[in-house]
């Protein structure tokens, strides 16, 4: 059965039309990712309307092409001009641009492209192997556990807003509130529509997303009147010949860095709402720490390109993993993918891989295939990127706004959705101006329904109020996610106080200890073993610090250097 599904998926993906669309998508992603200010999420959002009329797998394969292309496209402008195309390639510029300026742009591009390729392939393997396991785990989840998982996803998104965590939390809660407007999905009762018939159906998720993200982003890009009229980039340099063979050899020599960075990328991708913008910096930082010659980082070293580029592509696999296994989007791009699946009446859940095996295998294959396509198209798209960067931002903004309008109308043939785009365009822009992070609000809108549905299911399942409330802390998975949520709320303070306050010495060991407790009550021997290992490690770490007289460690200022 498994092979039948696999071959059917293979047949669908390798159809001429699907392949052609994947080539188009990857090429578009490469160019879009290379344009500063034009994020991958926006590229995927703009692709979505084209996929409405396609079969689900064809549409998703196209979007995966855009996703993978976008992740790799950011390195082109980063290496050639020092301005990263997307936040996922920020760390690539530290060594990529320096190497290019030192006269090896071909090698720098080669290292970037091939690291993206290998990182993506490693993550594709992990996706195939781990997604079904994660889905099996998801089958153990009850409504209490799912509700707590959503809470954790929202808190971690907010905590990634750093010093703006309070704003991040507020944005997440506003997202939840937006989702409550209109008929409730459980009883079909109209609510919070203020007597307006047009609000009875509530707000569709995709117009909200396009308004918040694309509309708001475009207006931010054209805010400065003078800059909006200038070409996107003043000096994009000339197309260079990529040194493929030398790059591959160099990457194989740094295989440990490649594996470590890819693992970091996958892990960050699995975390709800953490994306390539975090994984590339984290991988760069770890590569520098592990290097025998850390002083070479920032001067054009190959490891400084391999680490961020392999990590950011690997993040995509992690994000798809959690989306397919649990229905939780790993980042904004995965949220759009979720929207695309919902349009085709496919709801990701733990049973998604078994219920929609052909689609699931198709996604695996498409993700795998997008990487060689990206390599093939890279040289062509480099020229396309050089052409596009001569266009002023205001031209792109006006055309894309019109395109958004046509695309959103095509969703449900409704002008109500266009007004939704305008309203949330205003909200998104205001949030940017007031420094509210957008991602928590988007996740709030996406996950709000899941939270309410599971809360309602928990209430209906519980025999009384005590059981309803107490099971949030008595069920092991629920307690585990709630504890993770609590510690993720404290994480920005931990980061700020690290190396300055003594309580930071116990924060991580305490977190490990607390997380070990619910794990002891989960099924299976492996989890008990992991819980015991966590406890032992935490006790050892505390003992070591006690012996050291609770002395604060010297702050490792890698991140400060990176930010600088």
């Amino acid at each position: 059965m498994m092979w039948e599904n696999f071959t059917e998926a293979l047949y669908t993906v390798f159809q001429l039309k699907t392949m052609l669309l994947m080539f188009l998508g990857t090429g578009a992603g490469l160019i879009a990712g290379a344009i500063p200010g034009f994020t991958i999420a926006m590229a995927v959002i703009l692709t979505l309307p084209f996929t409405f009329s396609m079969p689900p797998l064809q549409g998703l394969a196209t979007m995966i092409g855009v996703f993978v292309g976008g992740l790799s496209g950011g390195l082109m402008s980063g290496i050639l001009t020092g301005i990263p195309g997307t936040p996922s390639s920020i760390a690539t510029t530290f060594d990529g641009f320096t190497m290019a300026r030192a006269g090896r742009p071909g090698l720098a591009l080669g290292l970037g492209v091939w690291s993206s390729f290998f990182g993506g392939l490693i993550s594709a393997v992990a996706l195939v192997l781990l997604a079904p396991l994660l889905a099996d785990l998801g089958l153990e989840f009850g409504p209490w556990d799912y509700f707590s998982l959503v809470l954790f996803a929202l808190t971690i998104t907010a905590s990634l807003a750093g010093t703006n965590m309070l704003k991040g939390l507020i944005a997440g809660v506003i997202g939840l509130l937006v989702r409550t407007i209109g008929e409730d999905d459980i009883n079909g009762i109209a609510r919070l529509n203020f007597g307006m018939d047009s609000l009875k159906a509530g707000f569709q998720f995709l117009p909200v997303l396009i308004g918040l993200f694309a509309f708001g982003q475009l207006l931010s890009d054209v805010k400065d009147r003078v800059r909006a009229r200038q070409p996107l980039m003043a000096d994009t340099g000339k197309a260079v010949k990529v040194e493929h063979l030398e790059a591959i050899k160099t990457i194989f020599r740094s295989w440990i860095n490649l594996l470590r960075s890819s693992a970091i990328g996958i892990f960050v991708g699995v975390l709800p709402a953490a994306g390539g913008s975090i994984s590339n910096i984290l991988a760069y930082d770890q590569a520098k720490k592990a290097s025998k010659t850390p002083e070479k980082f920032g001067t054009g070293t190959a490891d400084g390109i391999i680490a961020p580029e392999s990590a950011n592509n690997a993040t995509a696999g992690g994000a798809l993993m959690i989306l397919m296994a649990l229905g939780i989007p790993g980042d904004v791009v995965a949220a759009v993918m979720l929207g695309a699946l919902l349009i085709h009446d496919v709801v990701p859940s733990p049973s998604f891989i078994t219920d929609n095996a052909v689609l699931a295998y198709g996604i695996f294959i498409a993700f795998f295939l997008a990487h060689p396509i990206m390599i093939m198209l890279q040289a062509v798209c480099l020229r396309g990127f050089l052409l596009v960067t001569r266009v002023p931002m205001y031209t792109l903004a006006a055309v894309i706004l019109a395109y958004c309008a046509i695309g959103v109308f095509a969703l449900e043939n409704s002008t109500h959705d266009l007004w939704t785009v305008l309203i949330f365009g205003v909200v998104g822009y205001a949030m940017r101006v007031l420094k509210f992070p957008i991602a928590p609000m988007i996740l709030g809108v996406v996950l709000g329904n899941m939270a309410e549905l599971n809360l309602s299911r928990a209430y209906a399942t519980a025999s009384d109020m005590t059981m309803f409330v107490s099971w949030f802390v008595l069920r092991p998975w629920s307690a585990f996610f709630l504890l993770l949520g609590v510690f993720s709320v404290g994480f920005p303070w931990y980061q700020q106080a690290y190396g300055k306050k003594k309580w930071t010495l116990v924060y991580i060991p305490l977190m490990a200890m607390f997380l070990a407790l619910p794990m002891f009550f989960m099924q299976g021997k492996v989890r008990t073993f992991v819980a015991a290992a966590l406890l032992v490690w935490a006790a050892y770490a505390l003992w070591k610090r006690h012996r050291g007289g609770w002395k604060l460690e010297a702050v490792d200022n890698h991140f400060a250097e990176i930010k600088g």
Binding site: I170, V173, L177, V222
Partner: protein, 161 residues
């Protein structure tokens, strides 16, 4: 008043909007059977919003006034955000005239006016803007109408032809 800053105003606006939403939860129909009422989840969310926004309000009051005020009053504010305001106004105009102009004519006009509002206003620029708007919207309209088979609003003017 010396403590009031942008964040304070923002927190007050969120609290006021939250209050209006909370009031609206009392208009939600109640159910007789055992199930989580349709008003429960919005109230939980709103209470959470109030708690967080009050914390945000206190934090903003502790910060004091904005360090850097861009000044200029209402005219200065309009000047700072004129590009965004142009886009909103033109997009709203595009939606309001959709029934008459349709997606093709309205879209082309929207792109042309937006380009003219944001870009340079020379004769050459007008010609470039006209060409860009005609080609881009015409291309997208054709793709959706003939390629994806989406029936886009024709508008009364187009229908009359």
């Amino acid at each position: 008043m010396s403590r009031v800053n942008t964040d304070t105003v923002c927190a007050i606006v969120i609290l006021a909007a939250g209050g209006a939403f909370f009031r609206a939860t009392y208009d939600i129909e109640k159910m007789d059977y055992r199930s989580l009422g349709a008003e429960v989840w919005p109230r939980v969310v709103l209470i959470l919003l109030f708690v967080l926004t009050f914390a945000y309000l206190f934090q903003s009051l502790k910060q004091g006034r904005d360090e850097k005020s861009e000044g200029g009053g209402v005219i200065g504010w309009i000047g700072r955000y004129q590009n965004a305001l142009w886009c909103y106004a033109l997009f709203a105009g595009f939606l309001l005239t959709m029934n008459y102009l349709g997606m093709l004519i309205g879209g082309t006009l929207f792109v042309f006016l937006t380009l003219t509002a944001l870009g340079e206003r020379t004769l050459r620029a007008f010609a470039v803007h006209a060409a860009v708007s005609l080609i881009s919207v015409g291309f997208m309209w054709s793709v959706f109408t003939y390629g994806i088979k989406v029936i886009l609003p024709q508008g009364e003017i187009f229908s009359a032809w």
